[in-house]
Symmetry: C2
């Protein structure tokens, strides 16, 4: 019998849910007709979910609906969530991993609450100092894994070394047979640059570097994130969050102005007739929906956070990410990687 990959989805989280989430599920099933190892548990209002399953014509045996009447509200903060989130769709979605009913959880709901209750329910792995939020970020040769993107505002060298092991395990699970190349984000590439924490981390990562683990490529600066020379970028959650959002803002600024430029007069509109298909490919490549999904690493089970405002296509990409993560055996990869730390000081 084939081993099923079971994805638990909080059907109620994010804008326009459950319409968006169920539409995303339908896109995922359509694109994975050839795979018979898929199983999806949907958590939320049964009546609403079933309406949407009908709307999107989903009659798959792979789907199971688990009714929960309450939802985590947008106003909830991490501080109030503990008291108010029990038995919400998000809570039960994560809890299903502990119960052995799912391999991974996905939600587009409130980020702060998701981080808090994931940690509360799944608990931290024994050898991890702090869990981290990792994301995908395109580079010239393919894709980077970047972490931490905001779970930990302040980090010491233990945290950063853990992030390197967690991030390269994620990279290996997503890009089978490829070698993770780890870099540490800094304000210069010389060894003497940066904070004391970064200098300590540099030394420890140099010792951990090796063919069986990850190759440590040293420091990189912000302008090298997308060069493709490394593919696992390590930083604290404050810096990572600023870098990611600055990149998003810059991309938006440029593409907005490009759009204005290419529609500003009659001649440029004619030019679009000739470049339409090429520009569409260009736009596709930059489409943020393709990189939707941040992965919460370091707990006894993986949790993926979809952007709350993303549409169905974006949500589909985050389901796909969940599927690949489990297929690539992330939890096993993490355990292998963490074993390297036993010999590290």
């Amino acid at each position: 019998m084939i081993k099923k990959i079971t994805i638990a989805i909080d059907a109620m989280g994010g804008d326009d849910s459950p319409d968006k989430t169920i539409h995303g599920v339908s896109l995922f099933l359509k694109n994975n007709k050839q795979n018979n190892d898929i199983s999806i548990n949907l958590f939320g209002d049964e009546k609403k979910i079933k309406e949407k399953l009908l709307k999107y014509n989903i009659r798959s045996d792979a789907i199971k609906v688990i009714h929960t009447s309450s939802v985590v509200s947008d106003e909830e903060t991490p501080l109030t969530a503990v008291k108010n989130s029990k038995n919400t769709s998000m809570w039960n979605c994560i809890k299903s991993q502990i119960d052995g009913d799912s391999d991974i959880s996905l939600s587009a709901g409130n980020t702060g609450v998701l981080l808090v209750i994931s940690r509360m329910i799944l608990k931290m792995m024994d050898d991890v100092s702090k869990p981290a939020l990792a994301g995908l970020w395109p580079n010239n040769k393919g894709m980077n894994v970047v972490l931490d993107l905001g779970a930990n505002i302040e980090c010491d060298d233990n945290n950063l070394v853990d992030f390197a092991e967690l991030g390269s395990a994620l990279y290996k699970s997503l890009f089978i047979n490829e070698q993770p190349k780890v870099s540490l984000l800094n304000v210069g590439s010389e060894e003497i640059k940066g904070t004391e924490t970064l200098k300590k981390t540099f030394k420890r990562l140099s010792n951990l570097s090796g063919e069986n683990n990850f190759l440590f490529k040293g420091y990189i600066e912000g302008n090298q994130i997308m060069s493709g020379e490394s593919n696992v970028i390590i930083t604290d959650g404050f810096t990572g969050n600023i870098a990611l959002k600055t990149a998003e803002g810059t991309a938006k600024y440029i593409t907005d102005h490009l759009k204005l430029t290419l529609t500003e007069n009659f001649l440029t509109k004619i030019s679009l007739l000739f470049s339409y298909f090429s520009l569409r490919k260009f736009k596709d490549r930059l489409d943020p929906r393709k990189y939707n999904g941040a992965i919460f690493l370091g707990l006894n089970g993986p949790v993926v956070k979809s952007h709350g405002g993303i549409d169905a296509l974006g949500f589909y990409h985050s389901i796909d990410l969940c599927y690949k993560i489990v297929k690539g055996n992330l939890m096993k990869q993490i355990q292998n990687n963490l074993s390297h730390l036993k010999s590290d000081n």
Copy 2:
């Protein structure tokens, strides 16, 4: 008699100097024929400089050449610079401000050395806790001033409050009659987000906010830097450096791929015939040479650092920046702004 604006230029700093620097001077003089308040002191090898003045056909009375035989080498570090940099073109260029011979200094040489010897020669202003490196960054409505871009890796609330006063003084000197709108870069816009240092700074900037000074707009995230809602962005030197370089890398990634897209086949090449002039305007807008020049603030005299690898056009923009800064009376604006701090706790 008209008050001259005297710019001291290290003619030897950066790649391809003095050719690049003198070519930049010629572009500046050509574009400022109508202004008779310009005076330029060129520091460096007199023979080489005079050759280049001939080459670029510069025979202006506005130019004075001050011979110095040595140059700060690229290998020099801030640690060795103190001993080895005396009487170099960079050293004498900055020293001319203390001697009352120049109003501002400009160099495309070694950044670390420039920061160290500027501080040593010009000394910090009495009421400033740390000097900062500020830069220009385009936004949807015009231009941001962003600081610190890397002079101070770690900053407390005193430093960040000083940066807000220094940055808004710079903004006022460059954009006369416009109101500086200060924001603090953070990982969220809610008041509870971020480090303790940011929370303290938030409170103090809220108290300093006012029509006669700057308007404090609160926290912004990385994706809002270019929105135009604020125009003076405050952050520590580590975060500012990472944000700036990440934006540069993202812009390069996108424009490189756009270039490939628009030349990938016969059809797209035809499209370029129709959109050529519009795309050239688009490219112009993003041209990093237009934003060349980081301003070292908080010393008893302004120092501008040009990118070392920039070409003559980029160097011209940094000379132009020097001219505007002095014309806008930066040092007086800074003194006015720092007086606000006397009543602040």
